[in-house]
Amino acid sequence: MSQIRVIGGAAGCLALLSVVGACERQPRRLDSPPIRSSELLPGGRGSTSIRPTPNFTKPATDVPREALPDFYAGRALAKQPWVRAPATTTARDGLGPLYNARSCVTCHIKGGRGQVPQASGDPLVHGAMTLSVLSARLHVSEKSPAEMIPDPTYGFQLQTRSVALSHQFGVDRETPVLNASAKTPQQALPEKAPLPAEGALVVHYQRRPYRYPDGSELELREPRFEVKALGYGPMHTEVATSTREPPPMYGMGLMEGIAERDLDRHVDPEDRDGDGISGRRNRVRDRELGGTNPGRFGWKANQPSLKQQVAAALSGDLGIASAMFPEQPCTDRQPACLASPHGTDRSGYEIDANLLGLLVDFTRSLGVPKRRQASYPMVRQGRDAFYRARCQACHIPSYTTEKNEGTPHVSEQTIWPYTDLLLHDMGAVLADGRPEFDASGAEWRTPPLWGIGLSQAVNESSGFLHDGRARTVEEAIVWHGGEATQSRDAFAAMPADDRAALIAFVKSL
């Protein structure tokens, strides 16, 4: 522990009593700013309890009681399965015909992350591969962002499932069933109008040893995603792919409440302050307001609003069409998909504006868990180390959200998400090589850190970073490159107990 100064503090002294065994004077560290009481409530006044078991689908505790029925109605839409059309449950049908998941929480398990394949050769069941054709990408201009061009056959996303019976029961002769626990019936089905899944994704891990300056070692794994059994022929020769894990859903309403000016404050595309860190806003197509707006959500800040994020996921992941994304997940090279029954209801879409609104409000109202273990000496030591390594340069700790009279639980809240929601070049090793609007193939949006320590208590097979490659917080830190190289190196150069403390701090957030 370096640079400590001792000041008085009776309350803290008592709390430490049982740990250190004697009442010493409370140390005050100079490496980090004073601890604010609000740090214990990262999601503001409505921060949630983790008892009896951690779960990220709880409403913030300050959601008004009268809003809770709608919250739970929205949760039904996120949790209960969407079904193949036509069905008696007309409001809930229209899955696919090509899709990745039949509900939001299939992949965002309990509102958190998905399962990451554990070993080479395992299928990716909870992530998705996004696609776009690079050569056809329009030129970036001052006025408009680069347009995204889909693969002519597969669109913007590889849908690995189909509502066709042949896929549902694994009798596709082309598509292998990648569900190890499932029996594969071998009977043939009549194939009058085959509607195969678009393909299957299998991971291959390559070991990447990492050595700390002190000689201790860490084994990393780098994933490569193999597309198998393409259902509709080859992809475009210049297609770029990017495979992404489902990120957590909670806290998005609060991140939506951060003022534009508070995000713009940290923008530094030319690195004028010379700290080695740029920070850019993505500029993306806004389907609601029209034109171009700054991106805020998604791995590359590729969605401008929470509503568009939700509608895009419904469309791309579930195949549920809305006014914002009215198209079916079919291209004109997939006629059986286009001709399949859809769940279009009287709104003209598969989910109407009212239900989409419920789903968006549900997402907006998901609470962020309270801090754990904030007062433990090790966590406080880690807090110093976190600031000393300048992690906070991108993982901006705190904001106060804007006033929002209609939605008090996201209004004027002091929150601690630890993100700037900006794009940063994270280096060649993490690059996906797939630009998205103004984001380059090496840039990623800083993800929030709140609740990260609970990820594996909610779902033990979840991972970190865009493709889930990091099995632990430590691995995730070590993978940082590009603009984060200095911070990563500062972490790596720390004594082992400071590294462990920093990790404990991050996991306490």
Binding site: R36, P81, A87, F169, A193, R380
Partner: protein
């Protein structure tokens, strides 16, 4: 990584409190440990065994009578099961096989009661502008997706593996198993009396004819020939297999709650006050989650919000009023530590009480620790819920099923639905208050013992040195 954690002390008062909480978990503990859940599971299994017999009879000799008997057996089987759902949402055996949700909730629930059903995957469904104007353009699109179209029409072998390969499969396929799959095969889609779409709703449930199960000549909704293995025969097979699978899953749940089984032992072994609080919080979480989130929200409010008539739990049989009533009864059971039995003749009175339980409930515990006014408030909230779900039940028994009541979500007819939602939510708030007042809920998060030095009401305060 192990992080040193301040030690806790256990006082005599705490030990007494733990004993009280332990008593709540084992109603009837003074005689012999007996959980309402044990009785309920046993009754769930036995009523599905009776359903299995009725389905065997239907398949062996399809007729109006055998179909009616099978439908009645299904309705009776829902009576105990609906009361068991309060024991969910807390990593208990139906949701999780090892009492540890972090490694995935791998219990059989998804194959028991999952909903909405993937009915188009199972058997024929109405195509056309089905359900009035709710769904458009289906007839124009019906040419696609005919790779066998549905399970009944395919050559897939119908066996237990086929069903288990669905709700709980890694890639989350459509729901094709459980009570509601059986319901669909017994009733069919609830369109109209004449089986057509596009005309105004009536008060009848699904109208599947018994001839859908007639093997060979006379088979409806399939080739009317003397061939073997017609769709009609396959429907019978599907019914039998789905019932067998349901029985297996319910038996698994029942057995996991039996004395000496790991879950039962772990759940009822309480050595410290902290453990006691955790267990009581699990019980309250099941009660609160079912009342507010699952029942009032995800099963009732959504039906009003979606403005979609069949957005109801038992949409084929029009039995949703019982689902609501029985879930509410279950929450009440859990609070009072009782189980009165189930209704075997569908007149809304619990008449099979051979395994009834009347134990030490949370109400008794609140009285014993002097929380009399809280106990009074909670009892009043439960009474209000009971009155509202009873009124809803009576309205439906009067001839108007829930799908018709909710046709106008804000209209007069839907009032019993809305009232029930309000009272269930109020009840949930009281359940949360039990946790708060007993210092076992939110307020007592034990995760940060040092939090008291921080004044979290003022976010600008510095604290913690």
């Amino acid at each position: 990584m192990t992080i040193a954690r301040p030690r806790r002390t256990t006082t005599r008062a705490a030990t007494t409190q733990a004993a009280g909480i332990r008593a709540v978990m084992t109603p009837g503990a003074t005689t012999r440990p007996k959980l309402p859940m044990t009785s309920l599971n046993t009754d769930s299994v036995s009523t599905v065994e009776a359903l299995q017999t009725a389905i065997d009879d239907l398949v062996a000799a399809p007729s109006g009578d055998t179909l009616a008997a099978a439908r009645e057996a299904w309705l009776v089987a829902r009576e105990p099961y609906g009361q068991t759902e309060v024991y969910r949402f807390r990593a208990s055996p139906i949701d999780d096989t090892n009492y540890d949700p972090s490694d995935g909730e791998d219990g059989p629930e998804g194959n028991i009661n999952a909903w909405p059903l993937g009915e188009a995957l199972i058997d024929y469904v109405v195509r056309g502008d089905d359900f009035g104007v709710d769904e458009l353009d289906v007839s124009g699109q019906s040419v696609g997706l005919d790779d066998g179209s549905n399970i009944i029409n395919s050559d897939l072998e119908i066996d237990v593996e086929l069903l288990q390969n669905t709700a709980t499969a890694d890639d989350e396929r459509d729901v094709i198993a459980g009570y509601h799959a059986i319901e669909f095969l017994l009733w069919g889609q609830d369109v109209n009396m004449n089986g057509s779409a596009g005309t105004p709703r009536d008060n009848t449930p699904g109208q599947r004819p018994f001839t859908d199960f007639v093997n060979g000549v006379g088979c409806t909704n399939g080739p009317n020939t003397a061939d073997d293995a017609t769709p009609c025969e396959r429907r019978g097979e599907y019914l039998k297999v789905a019932t067998e699978d349901l029985l297996t899953n319910l038996t698994t749940v029942r057995d996991a709650w039996a004395e000496g089984e790991p879950y039962r032992t772990a759940f009822t072994t309480v050595d410290t006050l902290e453990e006691a609080k955790d267990r009581l919080l699990e019980i309250l979480t099941g009660m609160g989650t079912l009342s507010e989130g699952e029942l009032a929200g995800e099963r009732m409010q959504i039906a009003l919000s979606a403005n979609s008539q069949e957005d109801e739990h038992s949409c084929f049989s029009d039995n949703t009023h019982r689902d609501i009533f029985l879930n509410a009864e279950g929450v009440s059971n859990s609070y009072f530590g009782v189980y009165a039995g189930y209704d075997s003749d569908l007149d809304s009175t619990d008449d099979v009480s051979t395994r009834a339980v009347d134990g030490y409930g949370i109400d008794d515990y609140l009285e014993d620790i002097g929380q009399t006014s809280l106990a009074t408030d909670v009892a009043a909230a439960f009474a209000a819920t009971t009155a509202d779900v009873t009124a809803l039940d009576a309205t439906v028994r009067g001839g108007t099923p829930i799908d018709v009541l909710i046709t106008e979500p804000s209209g007069d007819a839907a009032e019993p639905m809305r009232d029930s939602i309000v009272s269930l939510n109020a009840q949930s708030a009281l359940i949360a208050r039990i946790a708060t007042d007993l210092d076992i809920g939110d307020a007592s998060d034990v995760v940060d013992p040092d939090a008291s030095e921080c004044d979290t009401t003022d976010p600008t305060t510095e604290c913690g040195g």
